[in-house]
């Protein structure tokens, strides 16, 4: 592991910035603690606030492979941890049957045949027949890796319980093989959108990080880093406008990813400052519901003025 990047919290902030992720102190501290205490980190926040991106950036920063597991309803251990290669196992039994006849043909009696059979070694449930899934892959990365368990709140309670062993001891039990333990514990991120409350047992095993919507100054830096060619004046206006929108009672407030998308869209349209017509044309980039758009549209000019007024 690149220990320099995690020598101090400031180093983490700088490191993340160098790979294009502008982190607040709280984010950096949580990440720093997670690496040094070797604890998974549970990241919460509204959609589009940069939860997944944090894991991606950490992987880039440390130059480690990223293993990603998207959670959904009905996800079970055969899709998350391992699966046996049934086809191959069946083939193996076929071969075994054919060979068995030849091997055991000269055995004197049943007892001897059985003896020989036991001596042949049980290949059936062994590593070559194991199909590793994301969790297993992460445990078997000897040089460490970043494991991203995305949207854990979408998975079932049973799966959450199953994760506990992996998260607290960085090991997994395969009944047929025994315990598989990671040589280097992976850096684990879990993200949640709060679809349902997570169990206390899971929360206890993780550090917790809640990413709020950023302050204007931080968001301006994020936009500037994500959209390199943007004019400073435009950034200022656009972030001000988005912040004014967040004050309103919308079904879905725009989050950082929407701000960045909007900035990119405006660049494509060769805009160097915001005006009411331009905003109306591109409103569908930041607002995802028809009702929201209808509500905002008549107020665009006014919102622009408040956006300009804010420092």
């Amino acid at each position: 592991m690149d220990s320099d990047a995690f020598a101090s919290v400031d180093a983490v902030v700088q490191g993340l910035a160098s790979v294009g992720y502008i982190a607040s102190r709280r984010i950096a501290t949580a990440l720093y603690m997670s690496v040094h205490l070797q604890k998974p980190i549970l990241v919460e926040g509204v959609a589009g606030v940069g939860k997944t991106e944090l894991a991606l950036s950490t992987a880039t920063l440390l130059d480690l492979p990223l293993i990603r597991m998207q959670c959904y309803e009905g996800l079970d251990e055969s899709k998350a941890l391992y699966e046996w290669k049934y086809g191959k196992q069946l083939l193996y039994t076929q071969i075994l049957k054919d060979r068995m006849g030849a091997e055991l043909a000269d055995a004197a009696g049943m007892d001897e045949a059985m003896e020989r059979l036991h001596g042949m070694g049980d290949m059936f449930f062994s590593e070559p027949f194991l199909e590793p899934r994301p969790l297993m892959k992460a445990l078997r990365e000897d040089d460490g890796c970043v494991l991203l368990i995305d949207e854990i709140d979408k998975s079932d309670e049973a799966f959450e319980a199953f994760l506990l062993e992996v998260l607290s001891a960085y090991q997994a039990s395969v009944p047929e093989l025994g315990v598989i333990k990671a040589k280097t514990p992976p850096i684990v991120f879990l993200t949640s959108n709060n679809v349902r409350d997570l169990g206390d047992a899971l929360k206890r095993r993780c550090l917790h990080l809640h990413i709020p919507l950023p302050e204007a100054s931080l968001e301006r830096r994020i936009v500037a880093s994500r959209v390199p060619n943007i004019e400073e004046r435009l950034t200022h206006q656009l972030v001000g406008f988005v912040h004014a929108l967040r004050e309103m009672d919308l079904r879905k407030s725009p989050s950082i990813s929407e701000t960045v998308d909007w900035a990119r869209a405006l660049i494509l349209m060769h805009a160097d400052s915001l005006d009411a017509a331009m905003v109306r044309d591109t409103l569908n980039v930041i607002l995802k519901y028809e009702q929201d758009i209808q509500m905002v549209e008549p107020q665009v000019s006014e919102l622009l003025r408040t956006a300009q007024a804010t420092p």
């Binding site: 919290v9 102190r25 809640h210």
Partner: protein, 460 residues
């Protein structure tokens, strides 16, 4: 600093942030790594290890700021000697007063105007006086006194009186300065204790009130005090949410149609790859189905509001729930509960059907005629009422049908068991058709019973 951390964790718990021993170990490890030097860093690190939801983060921030707030003490600097004329006589030294005075730490701190040292002295004294054990607001003055004693204020008072008796003006000047310092220290001590109270005890007053309320009989004379109504509604809502959280969990049910390839093949190994036993994937079934029938007639007037509040909260959190209310006739109230806020909804229901003559038979008949098809073997029926039917026919036959058709029938009666079957109560005649009948007239009981109900009687 170990002690500080323990106190802080206690303050967090008092602020309703749940901290388990594992988390407190994490916190100690985090602190060991980053140290106490950088306040923001400390705050962020502790936040990551101790606060585990958005709500807790907010409470954590508040508790941290209150706990680690150490305003510097403001010592009055000694007045500069008057210009010109003859210089004021030099102040007497502590050593002049007595040997004991020279050894008094507090006196030295006051004279030096060293606010950091005073903070430290106060912290140390506070530990000795166990100020952080404060529980009630009435303990404040006593603890302030103890804190001052520990700091050695009595000593200072002695020094002051000795100094006044010294010859020359120097003694008086010294006494005046000590006196001023003593006042500041006393004021600070008071503020310190107040803050400790805010940290550790402010919440416990509210908790105490909630606890009492939870145990208060709901059909007591006059029902719930209007002052407590808000608190009670909040309590009921919290309870319903807690129950729903726990029991909305998905449950397994076998479903034909989806083959579980992995497990089928695994089973078939024993038969040389021939799939003898076919294993099907299981589907997860959502949430229990509940039918709640609530009596809002005159005889349960005191409890009606509480029962309806509970009905309302349950309706909010349980997806598959049908709610009915009756006095003489029975009406479905789902729509009313869905459309209005809790106060309005309860008023509407009571206006529509409340406080009339009870007729259980009639109400059951309404149910049988219009809603019997809602019952199936997955349904749990909950009756909330006193079974006082004004001597009308209780229609046990319908009750039997309900009993046979549903998975379980639960009766929650606000009256104690000794009243059942007295006067016009027909509770004991309904009893054979209930899987469970319980007295339930406090929030505590209600929660316990509903929890049992959901665990045992709701389909798995």
């Amino acid at each position: 600093m170990q002690h500080q951390m323990e106190d802080f964790i206690r303050a967090l718990r008092a602020a309703d942030v749940r901290v388990s021993p594992v988390e407190s170990i994490d916190a100690h490890e985090a602190v060991a790594r980053i140290g106490y030097a950088d306040r923001e860093l400390l705050k962020d690190a502790l936040c990551a290890t101790l606060a585990k939801s958005e709500d807790e983060v907010r409470r954590f921030d508040r508790a941290f700021d209150a706990f680690f707030a150490r305003d510097p003490f403001d010592f009055a600097t000694p007045p500069p000697p008057p210009e010109g004329g003859e210089a004021a006589p030099p102040e007497a030294k502590l050593e002049d007063v007595s040997e004991e005075a020279a050894g008094s730490e507090l006196a030295q701190i006051i004279l030096a105007g060293d606010s950091t040292a005073l903070s430290q002295a106060m912290e140390k004294a506070a530990q000795a006086a166990q100020v952080s054990e404060i529980r009630l607001s009435t303990q404040r003055s006593r603890l302030t006194r103890r804190l001052l004693d520990e700091m050695g204020v009595a000593e200072i008072e002695k020094i002051i009186s000795q100094a006044r008796r010294l010859e020359g003006e120097g003694g008086a000047a010294l006494a005046d300065r000590l006196e001023a310092g003593r006042k500041i220290v006393a004021a600070e001590a008071q503020r310190y204790v107040q803050r400790q109270h805010d940290l550790y005890a402010a919440e416990s007053g509210r908790q105490l009130r909630e606890e009492l309320l939870a145990r208060k009989a709901l059909n007591a004379e006059g029902g719930i005090d209007p002052v407590d109504l808000q608190v009670m509604q909040a309590l009921v809502r919290k309870m319903a949410k807690r129950l729903a959280d726990r029991y909305s969990r998905r449950r397994n049910r076998a479903r034909r149609g989806h083959l579980d390839v992995r497990r089928t093949l695994r089973q078939s190994m024993a038969y040389g790859g021939v799939p003898f036993n076919v294993v099907w994937k299981t589907e997860r079934v959502d949430k229990p189905k509940i039918i709640a029938i609530c009596d809002v007639s005159k005889s349960v007037a005191a409890a009606a509001q509480f029962l309806l509040t509970f009905l309302y909260s349950l309706n909010e959190v349980v997806d598959r729930m049908d709610a009915y209310a009756f006095s003489g006739r029975m009406i479905p109230v789902n729509q009313i509960l869905d459309e209005h806020g809790v106060d309005k909804a309860i008023l509407e229901v009571l206006k529509l059907i409340g406080f009339q003559q009870t007729d259980y038979g009639r109400a059951l008949q309404d149910f049988a005629e219009n809603h019997l098809d809602k019952l199936d073997r997955h349904t749990t029926v909950i009756f909330l009422g006193d079974a006082r039917s004004n001597y009308a026919d209780p229609r046990l036959d319908i009750m039997r049908t309900i009993h046979e058709r549903s998975r379980s029938v639960i009766w929650l009666n606000p009256e104690p068991e000794s009243y059942w079957n007295q006067g016009d109560s027909v509770m004991n005649r309904y009893l054979p058709f209930c899987h469970l009948a319980k007295t339930c007239n406090t929030l505590d009981q209600l929660e316990r019973i509903i929890e049992d109900v959901l665990r045992q009687y709701v389909p798995h």
